[in-house]
Symmetry: C3
Subunit: 351 residues, 3 copies
């Protein structure tokens, strides 16, 4: 309980998957990933049918995996093609194969009933694969339930306190948010538009904009996995034109994929795509380092919070205020996807 | 279960608490401690009401704590004075505040119903704050239930075996004890008077007394937290006069505060106050080092015993003999304070 | 549940037991082992009757153990001979003593009802103590349940995949086995006779035989503890003569003692006795190093498998094929010894 099955999840960046065996655990299911000789990504259950040895600890031979313990051999469909000591291959010698889609630089896997997998429902993050944008990114394993990362990202007022000196300024925490829920599309929108704000170092050093700014943060969360933050930075008072491109502003498309690994661990995929200074490698390097620092500040805080919450009595109290409207909407939508009762369930109840 | 609530416990030395945030967990309750600008010690629940982030991982600003995650701000009463993004502060935005008394160099906190806290019932250890005594001390975190430390301190015959070469000599284990229980005052007395004993290095090197000694050990245990050992060292045959000061003897007042942290961890506060060679810094240094070594011998043994007992079946057997009379009386008094059935409960049953 | 009691187990090599206190846990029972002044091996329960302090953390004085905490003293029978602070020794002051037999270089202990211990039922491994053989050996603690080591050793087809480059060649996995169960004697036989096989480095470098070989592997498993592998290596086509010694072949007697320590840990005693190049120290050193490497390959794989299985749902699936016939017979015999229902119990069910 606690996971939304029958959903697409990011298991890896496409760039992580190649001619070697990569182990990932998604929603508690152990997967082994590799790329076939023709370039297709394959995701199989990471347990040999014989004695449950992890296939990821095995050898990739052509497009087959040879189990490292007794040599059971599997093709890319998961069907066994060789067993030791006998000719006959038992009919049940087959490991599960997972639907895979490679899109927007991510490897998406479907966790659930195979016949319900519909690739057209995968939410998009096109900037990650668009020549007009320069992208930095990475993945950090989190020793915390995914609900804590959802909470964290849906309420950016924490930038002021946890990420001061990087992306936080007083205006983030001070400016009220607006929240909208599109139940039909399954998207939660949270917006914070700061008309006259201090420019945090993250943008001051990368955009070249001087002085105070007009800063917009527009979140789109597509539960369970994809989180988008459209960040617009412009000289103070500069708003998008009624028509034509918004060329006076700098745009950063900040993308997170939140993939539950086990009940208490999560893959935190993060990327920043920008439409400014796209050929400036010093900006690229600065944003990579800065955003990694910010992600690690979250990782440290959430890992601590996980230990706190895991040690608490089951029904601990939380107090929610206006800033939590988006996070609470996300919890409700996730709870519905999971099929569990909602109520004022704390983050713990989701994962 | 297993803790005596509605009691005073030592959470820290006063010297540990200053203009920073100190985390301590007492009886399983997470506390954050600090000293206000006017010098008062404050103890608050160490969990933000919003999302349970530890306040001890936050910032002290004047006399307020600003939560490191989203900026919820608390005054020294525990009441919230600021929340981000809105003017209205919810009435329930308040963390628990604990009654605190600073006395005899210790910070005592009351764990239980606030209206039952009575500072006059805190047992005293005046030597720790008396210019006629010189004090060395420290605190060691124990990876063992507090009952094991109570057992240890109530039966000093272990000095002969565990602390030989420091404070143990054959006479300690050989000399019978007398035990007295004052149920009304809630104190257990255990005495061992050695008329003609070898002088252990601890006292030989610090008192200047040569040859054999008359050594008295008079224990007063005030459950649950305070343990006093009045140690009298005199040249062999020298007894206290009928009247006037006992100036031929050296006195060490050995003080332990035994504070349960979690079910399997304990704070072991220890101090040695002496009325001899009080200005001799080499003696001070020697006693600090020696007593720390002795404490660490106990820590090592009790941590080992904790692992042994934690791995045992629930109702493991113990065999008690005369030396255990004091420890068994302590277990009974603690069990009554806890409100649990007594019987021949092993140490494990207390914690 | 899960252990076969009333059986003999190897607790140590005789060479490990001397004039010091050695702690071993067998079938969950903590033992302390030492050798008396007259050379007898003693095995006692490793817990003082007083407060359960481990006797192995104590001092050996002559043939007695003096508890390191309060000085309770035990003779080699386990009876207490001294307690502190009083003359009278309680009648119940006695720790359990375990029947011990030193044989074939091993120290065997009986875990179960003392009156059922019959030394004549201990299975033999005479090569380990025979001047016509040279022996290398060791013990590796396994962080895995013993059933996984039984599985591993009963199905040597894994040599091809896990131990390629040492003892594995394609023929091991390819050659079918024959299995025989002697229910009366309680022995399982698994044989794999390779008539024309590649010679693995392990034997190529040690026997001096060149070219292809005739390689026989004859397993005798005496559940629960003793596993013997009679390994015969000869030039290809060379079979034992109808009469007289098999002097054209090289023989290695590979011995494992599989001793469950706790539910999830095992002592893996291993030895290789050979009748060839017995005075050649470079061969001795080569076989010691090579076999240790092979053992550590198993240790790594089984420790990994333990973590996999411990994290799986209880009734995970396995698929067994012909190579598993011996391992399945072993599971059945062990299950009967344990007194648990058999069925298609996976390895996990045994330990």
């Amino acid at each position: 309980m606690g996971f939304a099955r029958n959903q697409w999840y990011v298991a890896a960046y496409g760039s992580e998957v190649g001619r070697h065996l990569l182990a990932r655990t998604v929603l508690g299911e152990p997967l082994v990933l590799y790329r076939t000789q023709s370039g297709q990504v394959v995701a199989l259950a990471d347990r040999c049918v014989h004695r449950r040895y992890p296939l990821s600890e095995s050898r990739l031979e052509g497009d087959t995996i040879v189990c490292g313990y007794h040599g059971f051999t599997y093709g890319s469909s998961g069907a066994c093609t060789f067993v030791p000591g006998q000719q006959r291959i038992p009919r049940s010698a087959k490991v599960a194969s997972y639907p895979v889609v490679e899109q927007d630089s991510f490897v998406w896997v479907w966790i659930g009933d195979q016949d319900r997998a519909d690739a057209t429902t995968i939410p998009r993050a096109p900037w990650l694969n668009d020549p007009r944008y320069t992208v930095v990114g990475g993945m950090e394993p989190l020793e915390a339930r995914y609900g804590l990362l959802v909470d964290n990202l849906m309420d950016l007022s924490h930038e002021t306190y946890l990420h001061g000196g990087y992306i936080g300024t007083p205006e983030v925490a001070d400016t009220p948010i607006t929240t909208e829920v599109d139940e039909e599309k399954g998207v939660i929108y949270v917006s914070r538009h700061m008309d006259d704000a201090e420019c945090p170092p993250f943008y001051a050093k990368s955009t070249g904009i001087e002085g105070r700014i007009t800063r917009w943060q527009d979140i789109e969360y597509h539960p369970p996995c994809l989180y988008l933050l459209h960040s617009r930075i412009a000289p103070q008072g500069q708003y998008p034109p009624a028509e034509g491109p918004d060329s006076a502003a700098c745009h950063a498309e900040i993308v997170y994929a939140i993939t539950p690994s086990t009940e208490h661990t999560t893959y935190d995929f993060w990327a920043v795509a920008r439409d400014f200074a796209i050929d400036d490698e010093s900006v690229t390097e600065y944003l990579r380092t800065s955003n990694h620092t910010v992600v690690m500040q979250d990782v440290t805080a959430l890992n601590l919070l996980e230990r706190v919450i895991a040690a608490e009595p089951e029904a601990y109290q939380e107090l929610s205020i206006n800033i939590d409207t988006g996070a609470l909407a996300a919890r409700r939508m996730l709870a519905r996807m999971i099929g569990s009762p909602v109520g004022a369930a704390p983050a713990g109840a989701l994962a």
